[in-house]
Amino acid sequence: MGSLFRSEKVTLCQLFLQSEAAYNCVSELGEIGLVQFRDLNPDVNAFQRKFVNEVRRCDEMERKLRFLEKEIKKDEIPMLDTGDNPEAPQPREMIDLEATFEKLENEMKEVNANAEALKRNFLELTELKHILRKTQVFFEEEERNVVADAQLALHADEAPVLASQPLQLGFVAGVILRERIPAFERMLWRACRGNVFLRRAEIEIPLEDPVTGDQVNKSVFIIFFQGEQLKQRVKKICEGFRATLYPCPETQAERREMAIGVMTRIEDLNTVLSQTQDHRHRVLVAAAKNIKVWFNKVRKIKAIYHTLNMFNLDVTQKCLISECWCPVDDLDRIQAALRRGTERSGSSVPSILNRMTTKQEPPTYNKTNKLTGAFQGLIDAYGVATYREVNPAPFAIITFPFLFAIMFGDTGHGIIMFLFGLWMVVKEKSLGASKSDNEIWNTFFGGRYLIMMMGLFSIYTGLIYNDIFSKSMNIFGSSWNADIAYPGDMGNNVEKLMLAKTYRLNPNSTNWSKEPYPFGMDPAWQFATNKLMYVNSFKMKMSVTIGVMQMMFGVILSLFNHVHFGNYLNIYAEFIPQIIFLAFIFLYLVVIIIAKWIYFDPITMNTNCAPALLIGFINMFMFNYPNKDASPTPPCSSLTWYDGQQVIQTLLVVCALICAPWMLLVKPIILRQRSRQVKTAISVNSGDIRNQISENVEVVHHDETVLIVDEEVEKFEFGDIFIHQVIHTIEYCLGCISNTASYLRLWALSLAHAELSEVLWNMVFRIGLGIDGWLGAIMVPVVFAPWACLTIAILLLMEGLSAFLHTLRLHWVEFDNKFYSGSGYLFTPFSFDDIMDVPSGLGDD
């Protein structure tokens, strides 16, 4: 099998790069994205590394770009995303970029400052305009009233004599945020002891705040008071509430004159303001064209320096040393990239890539494409495969949609799902380009191939179940005859059966033509009263059969793992007893299921005496075989039905039971013996081994040497291993039983799905079909809408999701636990692609 069967071979390499060529080489490696660098200075702080200054400069550039981007977004200028991927610029180009950004930022800041000043000016003038307009109303309409009211209000408690002569009242006018008014009024009242009079009016149009650019609602107010001291106090309060005060002339003529002046100034300002905005717009449009490319460039530079920071400096300072994981198959491409990098930098000394030996576990790297990626994602979500262990993903490509389809078997629903998946696959490019933030959509889109496959398989299982929107198709002609006694001989058999309304299909009766329906289920079952009994029995047996097959396959895969890792002890201490246990009990069950199907056909045998599998199976474990001659006579279904059944079954059970202690004891005992032998060997020539080790790992980094010695001397704990084996054995033996039962979910969900869609048809759509005449013509489209909506929402989405989750569980738990340890870690290469795109959600349904 191809590369997907096991992860790629990955090796640890040491890379010697000339200082001047290092940047270009890393840049080329980033483009191909096949190398995972290891941090060689984990103890060094981020800010004490070699290229920290460059990283900082990149940060600064990014900040400027973010600033520009923010401004561009504020003006809603579309940013051009050409999708082209510029090469990482040379370090010397960084200065140019920095200069460009610096210039742009400064220009932008200047324009902003100007615009802000102008806007502030504009705001003030507009506020003044409103004040003049509103106060005009105050003064005009209530000339007498306001002033008189104010006087009255202010001097109500004073001597009426004083009130009779008009006092000179001062006033201030201003503008305040509308939401601050209540507190403002209260404060004024308290602080001035009620000796002021306030009128206010709302400004209907929201004004723009010059700093934030938000729209704010404001109100005009005018305060009357008496005396200089009160004036100071009022002003202070206004200041405290951030109200802006404006000079307001006292006479009407002056006010009008001022208003005219303000209007002309506003108009002048408008022209200037629009010019400033135009300028700003031009600058931003120019920047918007390049900003994505700039972002990419800066991110690339930053990523390269981050990587360079993980390198070690050679003693001579002439070259950088790095360690990295590389896939063995791609070493040539990596070499080529290094050569390209060296050439680009104009360095004469080539970069050197050395393979190293290490005891460390390499990362797991599976090369995937668009189709396999989704399935690999499902597997990795459970646990990343241990390095070079059998990867369940390639099998999941078929088994996953198939098990899903067994639970989702309906051709109609399958077609809808398939078409949805197909649409996403065909439109892949345009849909993928319009990067959506919708998480749900992204998950669906990530699993588009999965959805398409699941739809395709559902069509197939739907045909087997003969279910299309819960209805059956009569393609080949049913093999059942209606009761001969039924009067009238018209049309084909199914029509006659339908007319009979209800009936019970019995293969022993003469109604059956003795010819099986060629493909799938006979449509005649659709109307039979014993349909459920028949379908349940069929689906239940099918679930067990498929389940046992998949588990057997999983156990066999574990053989490949044992052979590959040279773990021959595991083969005869674990694999063989496991396969015997599973085969002798559960495979035997499958065999008798199939035998029963084939052997007991109604033509030749009396089906009443077909063996009851459940009871037979229980009896097999109890070693209990009813005697034919005993009284009372046992039912013939519980009797043995082939020669030597008793002997064979007894043998199977005994063998299977022997497997349990076999699994439990053999491995720990052998391991114990081995460790004793090793111990004596070590004590004899421990010195030699140490020497040998240090020779072997000359090139290896120093801390690994320590590691290797540690591993070698690791103590053998018999107790640990034994307990581990006990757990493992119990888990396997009980697991076989519970997992087989677990596969019954295939039947249960399939039943639920079929019943639900039938209920939906009968309760909703049939109402429309049941009405005759023109009313029926109207009713059909009317009831179609809810039926279609419910079909999509409940049957496709909800049921689909539930079937998906159950399939996922069957793969993760029932299948994977037979062979998959999943204790590896992912290969995360240094790649520019990952930096450029925010990874889209891949994997789930």
């Binding site: 702080n45 800010f47 004490q48 900082r56 900040r63 106090r233 309060i237 405290g240 509430f241």
Partner: protein
């Protein structure tokens, strides 16, 4: 409030708060931070912690005040988030926490205006957690009575202000007395509120507030030496919800010098070690730092229990201490004065 129903209303926020607490800098972070040469290094390191890119949009060169603002901003955003999502009685509890900041802000503004500073210059210096609507108009008041009638009467601090309404002009001494009287009333009220909540909240919060009250009592006493404050007036400023109440406070009221305060502390197991070895000499930690250390310990222990509000208070206090630490370190870095850089107070 009991543990059974706690999670219905407050489980989310408690979880959130504990999550925030997980982001508090560890000892290893501090070890890295003190190695910084310039503030840019500090920024780079903080990027790898829970602070993330909180300084990413600040143009270099950085200044300590920018860092301070951003630290505060982050804390305030987190606190406000919790406040907005809270329901009674947690919302009242969280409001209570902010009252302390309001008192500080009022005092800051009054002192500022007393020294003829412009109010607009002072507003940015106020702690954003303690800002309230009428705050900026505070400079119209010349006497405590005016302050109460015009400004504070609408704020939640009004009841605490009852004891210091007078027609005297505001001066330095007066302001200090107002601050401490307000604080005393606030602490006692908060203490009472926490006692009514019951359960672990009472247990944890009362200990924290008792410590706060006692710390204030000690500090007031020590700071009052050599001022015009009379012993009677001083006694009125002691918050009466701490462990010192009543005997310790009575003795403190009689104290004339530092040694006598120390004698009082000797009677209390919690405070004795704080005074032992505290000093201003080289290698010694100041009494203030000792109290901070003790506070951090109390706050950490608040996280040992579940289903109570103390975690919110403790989180805020710990985070404040962390901000103080970062600011201290950045000041030391900025001024190239590394001799004392290690006198931050580690939290974990």
């Amino acid at each position: 409030m009991n543990s059974v129903n706690f999670n219905i209303n407050f489980g989310y926020l408690e979880g959130l708060c504990r999550g925030f607490k997980g982001g508090i800098l560890k000892q290893t972070d501090y070890i890295n931070l003190v190695q910084c040469e310039i503030l840019e290094d500090l920024k780079l390191h903080l990027q790898s912690t829970d602070y993330g890119s909180f300084l990413a949009n600040e143009p270099s060169p950085l200044s300590v005040s920018v860092i301070d603002d951003k630290l505060k901003e982050k804390l305030v955003i987190e606190f406000q988030h919790m406040r907005i999502h809270s329901v009674e009685p947690l919302s009242t509890f969280l409001d209570f926490i902010t009252y302390g900041y309001m008192i500080d802000n009022i005092i800051l503004l009054i002192t500022g205006t007393l020294h003829q500073r412009d109010i607009r210059e002072l507003i940015p210096k106020c702690h954003p957690l303690g800002s309230f609507e009428q705050m900026e108009a505070i400079h119209i008041a010349n006497t405590p009575a005016e302050l109460y009638n015009a400004v504070l009467v609408d704020t939640p601090l009004a009841p605490y202000f009852m004891d210091c309404i007078s027609e005297q002009d505001l001066d330095e001494m007066n302001i200090e007395i107002i601050r401490n009287t307000l604080y005393k009333a606030y602490l006692e009220d908060f203490y009472k509120f926490c006692s009514t909540i019951g359960g672990s909240t009472t247990e944890v919060m009362c200990e924290a507030l008792a410590f706060e009250a006692d710390r204030r009592a000690f500090i007031i006493t020590i700071n009052s030496f050599g001022t015009e404050l009379t012993k009677d007036d001083r006694a009125k400023l002691y918050p009466r919800c701490g462990k010192l109440h009543p005997d310790g406070l009575a003795k403190l009221a009689q104290a004339d010098e530092y040694e006598q305060v120390k004698v009082v502390a000797d009677y209390y197991g919690e405070y004795k070690p704080l005074f032992d070895g505290a000093g201003t000499g080289p290698g010694e930690k100041t009494l203030e730092d000792r109290f901070f250390e003790k506070e951090v310990k109390i706050m950490m222990s608040a996280f040992m229990q579940q289903f109570h509000f103390g975690v919110f208070y403790a989180y805020l206090k710990l985070k404040e201490q962390e901000c103080r630490n970062i600011i201290w370190i950045s000041e030391c870095v900025a001024q190239k004065h590394k001799a004392k850089i290690d006198s931050y107070i580690p939290i974990f």
